[in-house]
Symmetry: C2
Subunit: 194 residues, 2 copies
């Protein structure tokens, strides 16, 4: 995933923003002390895929922080004016030069600490002709038994792989959500440091 550890936009540096409850609202917002503009802060949408070629799963070794050197799924932030599925296709292209056919929504994960909603699709590669994009150090198509479980970048990548395996062979299923009690925190909090 391109920058899942990044925080939502904060107040521009040097600007006189204050955090107050606007009239008629029920929670504090960032408000410009000069012009009264309300800077709403919103959750971020991450779109990605568990994409396969002949039963092998495409993973990308991250070339950038956070979690540089670890393996992740092709995924990243949805852009303005983009559908969720189109965003997942774009991320697969940007990170792995991969062309996909999206099958169905595998999971919706919520990472409240990062204010992230992740939409992860099950997809098939249209060819095995893939190549690392600028944010990717290396690509591989892993058979299930060869997945480098100790070198996975994010908890939600673990979840998505597990859920992919759980619904393997099912043509129709309800999308999965966070495992019970799991919120996507990293044990060493390294998404905050990098």
């Amino acid at each position: 995933m391109s920058t899942p550890g990044a925080k939502p936009p904060a107040a521009p540096a040097g600007q006189r923003f204050v955090r107050e409850i606007p009239e008629g609202d029920d929670r504090p917002r960032l408000i410009c002390g000069d012009c009264g503009f309300v800077q709403y802060e919103n959750p971020m949408v991450v779109v990605g895929s568990v994409a396969t070629w002949q039963e092998r799963i495409l993973l990308c070794r991250r070339a950038i922080p956070p979690r540089k050197g670890l393996w992740t799924l092709p995924a990243g932030y949805l852009e303005l004016h983009e559908s969720a599925a189109d965003g997942a296709l774009r991320e697969a292209w940007e990170e792995a030069r991969a062309r996909l056919r999206i099958d169905q929504l595998l999971a919706v994960y919520s990472i409240p600490r990062l204010s992230q909603i992740q939409l992860i699709y099950r997809a098939q590669l249209l060819s095995a002709d893939v190549a690392a994009g600028p944010e990717t150090a290396e690509l591989a198509l892993f058979a299930w038994d060869d997945i480098p479980w100790d070198e996975i970048a994010f908890p939600s990548v673990h979840w998505a792989l597990g859920h992919f395996q759980e619904v393997r062979g099912q043509a129709t299923f309800a999308p999965r959500t966070n495992p019970p009690g799991a919120f996507g925190d990293l044990p060493d909090d390294s998404t905050r440091r990098d």
Copy 2:
């Protein structure tokens, strides 16, 4: 839905923002001409539900623009640090003082013009004791044949009701997406005017 016609945050008035491609990026962003701060603009997440009480569907008549006076589902923008399901529960409470049990994800709609991703759940009301919140003029529990189809606020409400009916009685289904070729535009573009 609370404010689905609202646009994502724009540059604060009176601030020297310019639209340029930051170094290492591939698309224009809003950049402060004074301090270089990059103001990322991101899609908004709308969360909501098709909630029933004894086969009757909860709809809310909007007390506020856009589409004031028309019927909608309890739905609105996801807040920071909130899971998608929690957001749908909160919106049902805010707009209809309704307590729900979420069943499963009914649909993921993308409204590219508004940069919106809508996550609509199938849910059951825990009681028929509902009451209009501040953004709601009136509430009703409609039997399918009594739904006021000519007074529905947004295309995606039409879609969600249709998809709800399509999967009625199904315990497991894949979430629906936009109908083919439909992007959620209103014929009279009234979300922009109000």
